[in-house]
Symmetry: D2
Subunit: 380 residues, 4 copies
């Protein structure tokens, strides 16, 4: 189709994803080596998403540990202060590599490229698009309330606009929101406005739920009048099909990374996503693999796989396909750790790769008792 070929050199953005294995929460040696060798440009980094070694609960410090190690490496490599990068780049880490899961982090970069004909993409061609935004700071009293829903929605919209993504083209929105420690929470309880919950784990859940509502509001996934604070953790039939939310003590606002396919972005990587109906449901994941041309279970070939993201949740009625599970009753192992181990293994078996970002706490992120998956792969 010669008429589609651009007459003049085309300015585009190009998104890339590098996945680093993580032998410990401060293992940034390969990352630092790439910076030192010029294989990675510190200024091109727009987001880092990863799974760290901790328990993924309130007292998981490995998320902050990796953040500090990465900031130190970036500062060492550039001579710039750590806060330069800290303020600009979302570092979104979810703790918990239960079962077969492997600790890792994915570095997202965006660079400007100029493509000349005839190698330039056809008109209408799309590539992986990445948009990033930070919300306004959140007080503890904001968490799990309308203010967090609104602030997240605004940040998601900002991220989409910056990437040229339309709502229908968004495949995955990762959000990291704040979660106070028990001590901070106890102090806040004496404030003018009490926290939405005085239980740290419940407040964490409310915060994740509010961020999911924020995504759904920005994307128009549900009627605005239903995406309200009073429906959080109650109206379980409301959910975003693309929101993935983590929370941790290490952030004080909502960080947003929106991923999708858009024009104006160089081809090379493609993202696909789908919801999952329950913890055993792999149809969505297999559909993503099919869309990306990846061979899946039982003879998976993950060579072109660049990143995979899974959200999951123990079903709240205590059963899966008619049989009881015990995750909600366990006083020794958090239900979030159980479900990550289980759903992470299913995804890893399907993909043939254990470096999957699996995050529990899927409140309003995919169907109740299920969740969602997203996969990024190199084009075939």
């Amino acid at each position: 189709m010669p008429e589609a070929e651009p007459k003049t050199p085309l300015a585009q953005r190009s998104a890339d994803v590098r996945r680093y294995a993580l032998s410990a929460p401060d293992d940034v040696a390969a990352f630092a080596a790439d910076l030192a060798a010029g294989r990675l440009d510190a200024h091109a980094i727009v987001a880092v998403i990863g799974k760290t070694h901790g328990n993924g609960l309130v007292n998981d410090y490995t998320r902050g540990h990796l953040t500090l190690a990465l900031l130190t490496a970036l500062s060492d490599a550039t001579g710039l202060p750590r806060r330069t990068f800290q303020e600009r780049i979302p570092f979104i880490f979810s703790g918990g590599v239960e079962g077969v899961l492997s600790p890792h982090f994915c570095v997202f970069t965006v660079t400007d490229v100029t493509v000349k004909a005839p190698g330039a993409p056809a008109a209408g061609a799309r590539g992986l698009a990445v948009g990033v935004a930070h919300s306004t700071p959140m007080a503890i009293a904001d968490i799990g309330r309308e203010r967090q829903i609104a602030a997240t929605a605004d940040a998601v919209t900002e991220a989409m606009v910056s990437a040229g993504l339309k709502p229908a083209d968004v495949a995955f929105v990762q959000v990291k929101g704040p979660a106070p420690s028990g001590a901070a929470l106890a102090q806040a309880a004496d404030g003018a406005e009490p926290p939405a919950s005085t239980d740290p784990n419940r407040l964490m859940a409310l915060g994740r739920a509010a961020c999911a509502f924020g995504v759904a509001r920005a994307l128009g996934e549900a009627p605005t009048h239903r995406l309200v604070a009073s429906a959080l953790l109650r109206d379980r039939d409301i959910f975003s099909r693309v929101a993935s939310v983590s929370a941790g003590v290490e952030v004080g606002l909502n960080e947003v990374v929106a991923l999708g396919m858009a024009e104006g972005w160089a081809p090379g990587l493609t993202i696909a996503s789908a919801p999952s109906a329950d913890a055993l449901d792999v149809r969505g994941l297999l559909a993503c693999c099919a869309a990306l041309g990846l061979a899946a279970w039982p003879e998976a070939r993950p060579e072109r796989l660049r990143a995979a993201f899974v959200k999951a949740e123990p079903s709240r009625d205590g059963s899966i396909r008619g049989r009881a599970h015990m995750m909600l009753d366990d006083g020794d192992i958090s239900a979030q750790r159980h479900i990550r181990a289980a759903v992470g293994a299913v995804a890893a078996a399907a993909l043939g790769d254990t470096a999957v970002f699996v995050s529990g706490g899927a409140e309003h992120q995919g169907p109740e008792g299920g969740g969602l998956v997203a996969v990024i792969a190199e084009n075939d």
Copy 2:
């Protein structure tokens, strides 16, 4: 083939498997109701195998709890003392329903049936065969030593003979061996012969390994000169393809249940088994499903499934398909709990059923870092 039809009524044994859900370790209500209603004959029960709510480690008392509850129900139903059943029936329970797994127990019964032509099976027809045996009592100093290997081998042979099973026809051998508590172990350390290990968890592992060697010896799965105590937990390339071993404080000898397909047993149920190469390997499980005509992942239909057994083990080199796992380093969650959650979810997703008996501690039971699976289903 009229020449194959039996001329006279055929005396056969018939094995059946009933799977009961378990809402708590003492939930024997449905079992007791079946006994009371005559749907289940206490005297026909030859073995009970199940997964209970505990952690599956040394301080898991739910195995003994279910045993006591079942014995009490049997005594209540028959008026016979509990020890009548305790001495005869192996109660083999593995604790740990991590992730999606569902607590349950399978009751194996054997009854004599007389089949008249023309409904009788053709000559050479085979059915699910069940053989049971108990070893001699094991002292703590016997665990993980030649005496346990030999005693297990003898018991497996006895079980096979009783069921008319040839080595090649054995699909699955479940063994339950003893594991002393830390206190009992500390006392034994002062004895004439010290225990093979003074670490309770290591001794548990040695004991499972010895039982696996016993199965392999009885079945001729490896040269006898390699199946020796000095090779336990060392020569990891030696393994049984059908042995599944649990250990617990609640038994003082090795209980053996051998399952396979043999003549002289009424058709109706079929068992298939296969080893698995690593924690993500589902080829063996899918092969079992294919052999049994069960639709598997992603549109599994478990209606005819009667029981599924899985052994699994975290790979000892700390990696799966080239990526690190963290199971061996975790001080909060035992590696056995991690692997059960992971491999159990993969099996449950493949089968569409979460009531799978998944047991960690697969030393010499299937390939290193992998394990084995066995599935029993109604004939199609």
Copy 3:
């Protein structure tokens, strides 16, 4: 004082306490031996209180395990059905022997005695008095609500009346209330009246709080208008000085054991109790020891000690004497397990005995962040 001597034989009740070590949750061998030898009369048993091996949380089945084992032993010894004893005797077990704590159970018996002069006690002499009562059955929707407060208060009053105890003479009231499993709770959530909380652990806390309010109401420890459901887990300055409440899946009503000193009971054993201000506060415990003539820390001599009970709670503001504790933030170990380990060790060190009943979940049982202690000893 010859004028105080009774002229005629005196009919009295005599309370005794036997403490049994527990090597496993079904270790009732010594108990059964005492029944068989006539050293213990099954019909004289009025209550059993103990600490078992489990985690003390929702999925702790060791409480029910010991109950089943004791009922079986009682049935075996008497030929009576288990339910005869189950309906009459409160079996109140708290799981969790963290740190130095030792599993054990205390069997309380009451027998009628006739004392002749001159050995009879002086007029006004008092002995350990034991009163027992069961509340009406509690539905899940009753837990943590006014109905549980009222039912507990009625049961406490009944227990006091039966023992001839006046409110000022009550030293310790142990209550065991119901706590539904997550599955039962999920089912109940669809009922006409939703549970007071859909979080199993929070509902457990609300239930303990309601029982504590019931004790306080029966004893007049706080104004009735403050002992209302809306104050549960909120008005933390309201507390009983003698209530100790456990909750578990194994009971469906509130069981009450009231202990104190009263006339009409044979001397021999004495009970003392006191509140504690925080987790480090031992003044109350030392005062109990002084009252009972027990040598305490650092040269404790527990020979005459018969039983010790401690309730404790992590301070909710996250600090003890101005320094932070981390108990509330821990996703790996429940805060209740932390505090039992800590306060249990302090009590064991003070008493020189590790078989102490230490129970977390001290909501409204002693001062916020503290708790209470009670000690029973033989008279010097």
Copy 4:
């Protein structure tokens, strides 16, 4: 005593200890502020010892996290690279603030002071002396072997010499040795010399034991012929009365901090230490308090307390004062976490202060089943 007054100005060293609370493993704000304000001289810091938030086991990354945060703060404050401080200063952190324990770190500084008459101390006066040394690097195959014993002994001797401490004057020697991760260990297992154990936790224990033997050898606490590798974890009657050893993945050699009272050091702070016979034994701790003039339990006044160190260990025979404990059997909570919670609470109650460095893993550090305590306080 005018004859004791020095005729000329006296050159002395002065040791100080600052204790910082730690709200999270990277909470170095107060430390950084002290550096910035000149209240703390980065170049005077000779050692940092502290308790961090993690589990204190192999996968505890909070030790390295705090180290990185402190190094970053020191680099930020001085403009010097992090490795300047990393190579010179032992950062010895023990994870695990179970029960009432409070995370904190103690910064030891040594400065040169010149004291003029008449304020100068009398001849023979002693002050807190601090000596620091690093051993040669340890390969994984060195851990738990003679090479680690010898290297530690040499480092302890070097530390004593540098501080002018004689063996009899040493009150406490803190050592931090290496502990490989499971993955590193698995790799090392293929090397020319296999590790002393392939079980990460056992190797950690062997390493702690070897360091304790090294201290005992340097101080002459036991005959040299008994302080050999074959006696590690076997000859439990051999122990150091002053050694406290931690191990972690974050170091590759043995770091030594020796504390005692010596001439040539300015008075102001005093250290006392004592062994403890079992987990309930507080006589040693009370003797330390008496020696330092600190009011202890039950009306403790910790105002002058500067630091407290406790080593403890679950008794290996499973009992304390004749009663069973369950610490060794627990598959959910490590025995080390149990004992830290218990003994830490006893020490905190005795001292009235929860910022106590309590470390498990007391192999050959104090009597079997017991341990040791050391207390530093300002002079009265």
